[in-house]
């Protein structure tokens, strides 16, 4: 965190100054470790074993916050009798179909759940995976009011099922799997327990070190389970904090440029499942909590997009929306590109030619397009692969043979346009335009507005039904003298308006009858009172810690999600020390916007048949969830298991010490000639790639370098690609500090200067010593400092919920000296693959 989010880290240091214990769990010793109370080196890819060990510790020592767990989590809920755990099935849950490598999630449901979310659907195999991101603003829909045992003693209740699931995650097992000594594990467990409960809270912060795994979603779930058990959610100083890496990566998830979502985490309709609006609503809305008003959110979105053309008689133009038929995520698309099936591609402020796993496959995709539009500040590798990319050097591609037509359109910088970024804490902050963009540089707002305007003009007279959505699309935004559309007007459309055209105050004002519009329901309220709330800048020094008048956070300017959980079931703060939101006798009070209908008393019991917010009881704080509770066991919404389970990465040097099932059985794999995986541990050829590597960031560069490799200061500070190895590994492979080395995988080889450092520590796994190599991923062939891209090394295997690739743990070899160049690189890699049995001998 100190490396990649340095200014955010100041708050960790503030906490430390006030007595907090800071623990850093990371394969590498970094600037965070240097100032932490404890650095815990861990084998890359084993965090669920570690977190599972902590969960077991908390359950077995009775250290969980029992009142919180009973009232606010699904710990008391009873599961069906036919649910089978990984303990029963040696690493699988019930419902697994080995043919399709997917789960039927029906048996994961609660006992007495009358309408299990998955069972009624016709496309089970695609169902959960495509809804994996819907819980971005709440849980998956489930039937409310299942059977429960508030003593939490029934062997079928979630708490007891959880206890059994983690019963073998002992400190000794954690040591064996993660390489963390038993004494160190106990130090962590004791510090965590000591700093949780009524009087104290603990927080977890993570970044892509947790998400870039074939079990990435379950990493976060494991932390969520632990934090829910300890009562650390919805309370000051608690939580699980995602440290995201781009200025508006949260915003581009909320208002998704993602295939499977519509704005506000509404799923994209599926061809088989969602044949009409009514069916779509029924299949995706719960009956309880804020997701129960999905109809109002969807209809308001359709009104924002299709205006007067959207009426109750035509399902509000629901059929204008294209339909999904499966996974259309980025890697699938790139493979289709490489196979020549996708002619056109827009790349906007992203640099996949070096920035995405298996970069060679990315470039083959780019080289197989008919046309490519690249919009960026700098001449990034995605725009220049045809001229001087790695395949030109190896002779695998010739410039003259590449048919891709390329338009490079220079982009405006943030200082040259108005607009909002949504930061990592869901806070929308407006940035004001300071100067005009130079030359042909334009904002992306201008580009897409202009593109849409011209396309609409072209199809204006068409009678082809496929052009109707374009003809009906609302696309009138005021422009300034330079032709720049008003970002303020777009933000107001996102907020939404009522039947009189007045800005709506918040999403509870949205209606399903077509009288309201809103481009993104969770952002409704950002333009309340006709004021751009995201532009508010009352100085922090004039405000309390909540700082509610700086920017605007979704939903409803709430800064701590689920803050109802900061009070006990009758509405009193769990402790005065940790007071935040509480019942003052008439309403929920405190400095934050209550995450709860403000006038719902703590003893409110919903009447039978109550709907949406009214169906949430006064003591059920998790209002975005369809049962108002935090989920220790997820009865719906996940593709690879209801409880986090330790699986080894796609590539690891050892087998699974807990189960016969080695890796996540539902992970997505792509067996292709351009995406070789290394042999499984213990099988012939695995020894060709004996070490572990993990990719990482340095403070002085940003992602794949698109914004940092062109500025002088940053490249003086971090001028060169390097490889971090331990003195032991350096001795084993004959590597010299400051000299060259190259890392080799079945995909490629990259070179860098050797950094021999005790910050890299070999770990023990039983009798095996495991060496881990740190590989920064900021470089590429262009810019002021150049170097090989770490993404050349990685294959593509994905988390099945969110289709995110595994970059944080894979296997490799490392050799002294520079890598082979030109055609020699291709033959050398093929030789190594043959040694590993991954490729036939040439005939």
């Amino acid at each position: 965190m100190a490396e990649a989010h340095p200014v955010g880290f100041q708050w960790v240091m503030e906490a430390k100054k006030r007595g907090a214990t800071v623990i850093h769990v990371d394969p590498r010793f970094t600037r965070t470790s240097a100032v932490a109370d404890l650095h815990v080196p861990i084998r890359a890819g084993t965090d669920i074993a570690f977190l599972g060990g902590l969960i077991r510790h908390v359950l077995e020592t009775g250290a969980y916050f029992e009142d919180y767990v009973r009232a606010y989590t699904n710990g008391p809920m009873l599961l069906r009798g036919d649910f089978a755990d990984t303990e029963d099935l040696d690493g699988l849950f019930s419902g697994f179909d080995p043919e399709t490598a997917t789960y039927d999630t029906e048996t994961w449901q609660y006992e007495g759940a009358t309408a299990p979310s998955a069972a009624g659907d016709r496309d089970l195999d695609v169902h959960e995976t495509e809804r994996g991101e819907m819980p971005g603003s709440g849980g998956a829909p489930i039937a409310a009011d299942p059977e429960r045992d508030d003593t939490m003693q029934d062997p079928r209740c979630v708490l007891q099922v959880l206890r059994r699931h983690y019963s073998r995650y002992t400190p000794e097992k954690v040591h064996e799997i993660c390489g963390i000594p038993v004494a160190t594990f106990h130090r962590v467990a004791e510090a965590l327990v000591r700093n949780s409960g009524r009087e104290r809270t603990s927080a977890f912060a993570y970044a892509v070190g947790w998400t870039h795994h074939t079990v990435g979603v379950q990493y976060i779930r494991a932390a969520a389970v632990l934090q829910a058990l300890l009562g650390n959610i919805g309370r000051p100083g608690g939580g699980i904090l995602a440290l995201r890496g781009h200025a508006s990566i949260q915003g581009s998830t909320d208002i998704p440029t993602l295939f499977d979502l519509l704005p506000g985490y509404i799923p994209m309709p599926h061809a088989h499942r969602d044949e009409g609006l009514q069916h779509f609503i029924e299949s995706n809305a719960g009956t309880k909590g804020f997701w129960a008003d999905l109809d109002a959110y969807v209809v308001s979105l359709l009104k924002a997009w299709f205006g007067d053309a959207a009426t109750a008689d035509n399902d509000f133009c629901f059929d204008h929306l294209p339909r999904l038929t499966g996974d259309h995520s980025s890697f699938r698309t790139v493979m289709d590109q490489a196979d020549g099936k996708v002619p056109g591609y827009f790349v906007v402020g992203e640099n996949p030619a070096v920035g995405t796993a298996n970069a060679r496959m990315q470039r083959h995709g780019l080289a197989s397009l008919e046309w490519l539009v690249v919009r960026d500040l700098n001449m990034v590798e995605t725009a220049t692969f045809w001229k001087d990319g790695p395949e030109i050097e190896t002779g695998e591609m010739r410039t003259e043979d590449i048919g891709t037509e390329i338009f490079f359109l220079p982009a405006a910088a943030h200082t040259e346009k108005d607009g909002t970024f949504t930061n990592t804490q869901r806070l929308l902050q407006w940035h004001h335009k300071a100067v005009e963009p130079p030359g042909d540089c334009r904002s992306d707002l201008w580009f897409y507005f202009e593109l849409g305007k011209r396309i609409k003009a072209r199809v204006a007279g068409s009678d082809d039904p496929r052009d109707r959505p374009l003809q009906d699309l609302t696309w009138d935004y005021p422009v300034d003298a330079t032709g720049e559309p008003s970002a303020d007007a777009v933000l107001r459309e996102i907020n939404g308006v009522d039947a009189d055209g007045k800005a709506l105050p918040g999403y509870t004002a949205l209606r399903s009858d077509g009288s309201t519009s809103s481009g993104c329901w969770i952002y409704c309220g950002v333009y309340a009172d006709e004021v751009n709330q995201s532009a508010r800048r009352r100085p922090g020094a004039e405000q309390d810690l909540i700082a509610a008048e700086w920017g605007w956070a979704w939903p409803m300017n709430r800064r701590v999600l689920y803050n109802r959980a900061s009070a006990d079931p009758v509405g009193r703060p769990w402790s005065e020390r940790k007071r935040l939101t509480y019942w003052d006798g008439e309403k929920w009070a405190g400095p934050d916007v209550p995450d709860f209908p403000a006038d719902t008393p703590p003893d409110y019991v919903p009447p039978p048949g109550a709907h949406a917010a009214k169906a949430i009881g006064g003591a059920e704080p998790f209002v975005m969830q369809s049962d108002g509770r935090a989920w220790l066991h997820a009865p719906a919404g996940l593709a690879d298991g209801p409880m986090p389970t330790h699986y080894e990465p796609e590539e690891s040097p050892v087998g699974n010490a807990l189960y016969g099932q080695r890796a996540n059985p539902a992970r997505q794999r792509f067996e292709r000639a351009d995406n070789h995986y290394h042999p499984e541990p213990g099988t012939p050829g695995a020894e060709v790639y004996p070490y572990v590597f993990t990719t990482f960031r340095v403070t002085e560069h940003h992602t794949a370098g698109g914004m940092s490799r062109w500025t002088p200061h940053l490249n003086e500070l971090q001028p060169e690609m390097f490889l971090e190895v331990s003195p032991e590994l350096a001795a084993e492979r004959g590597l010299t500090h400051g000299g060259w080395a190259h890392v080799v995988t079945a995909r490629s080889a990259v070179e860098g200067r050797v950094l021999v450092t005790e910050r890299a520590k070999p770990l023990r796994h039983g009798d095996t010593v495991i060496h881990q190599i740190g590989v920064p991923w900021h470089w590429g062939p262009n810019g002021l400092s150049t170097g090989d891209a770490a993404n050349e090394l990685l294959g593509v295997s994905l988390d099945p919920n969110v289709h995110i690739m595994e970059t944080k743990a894979a296997t490799c070899d490392i050799r002294p000296g520079r890598r082979p160049r030109g055609p020699e690189l291709v033959t050398c890699l093929a030789d190594r693959r043959r040694q590993a049995g991954l490729e036939e001998e040439p005939r």
Partner: protein, 196 residues
């Protein structure tokens, strides 16, 4: 200069010498007042000469630090941390501190570049022409790759021929127009850094 100092006295002249002040005064490390000279006094920070200060947000990671953008005659002259921000309290990291270089970089490309199929070098292209050419390609590709129904007759109403990547470095309003336009076009392979 010597003559001037002779007029005001040798003592003043000696005291004007930084080394003397460092040795004789309280600033023994020479990091404060001792090192100041007439030259120092005449320096003016770019922030003082700015004719406008605009509040902004750092474009790198998602912490969302506040920035103040100093401009003079329509050019960015300095970018500083915004002390008003309750998130960053005026601080910027090395990346955020490089923002001035990022937005004023001489290497920044400011004209449209065009590479024709099988071409061996970039060519110039007018922005307006480029837009029209892109519109042509979008509509043509969409027509050729349109899928009205699947093989079971269910509505798809989409193209699998146009993909898009990027969004996490852009504004919410930009992502919104992108998703809105792509969806109306029937393009579904829309992705960004949040996944990869």
């Amino acid at each position: 200069m010597i003559g001037h100092h002779e007029e005001v006295g040798v003592r003043t002249w000696i005291e004007g010498w930084p080394v003397y002040r460092q040795l004789a005064g309280p600033d023994r490390l020479g990091r404060g007042t001792a090192s100041r000279s007439d030259g120092t006094e005449s320096l003016r920070a770019r922030t003082q000469d700015a004719d406008r200060v605009t509040q902004s947000i750092c474009p790198f990671c998602a912490v969302g630090c506040g920035q103040r953008v100093f401009t003079r005659n329509g050019q960015v002259t300095q970018v500083e941390g915004d002390p008003d921000s309750p998130i960053s309290r005026g601080r910027l990291c090395p990346k955020g501190s490089s923002t001035l270089s990022l937005v004023t970089s001489p290497d920044r490309v400011t004209t449209v570049r065009y590479r024709r199929p099988h071409g061996t070098d970039w060519e110039d292209l007018d922005l307006d022409t480029a837009l029209d050419m892109i519109v042509d390609r979008v509509l043509d590709t969409r027509r050729r790759t349109w899928q009205e129904t699947d093989d079971e007759g269910r509505y798809l109403r989409r193209t699998m021929g146009i993909a898009s990547l990027g969004g996490a470095t852009l504004d919410n309003e930009e992502n919104y127009l992108m998703k809105k336009l792509y969806t109306a076009l029937g393009a579904v392979q829309i992705e960004n850094q949040a996944r990869i």
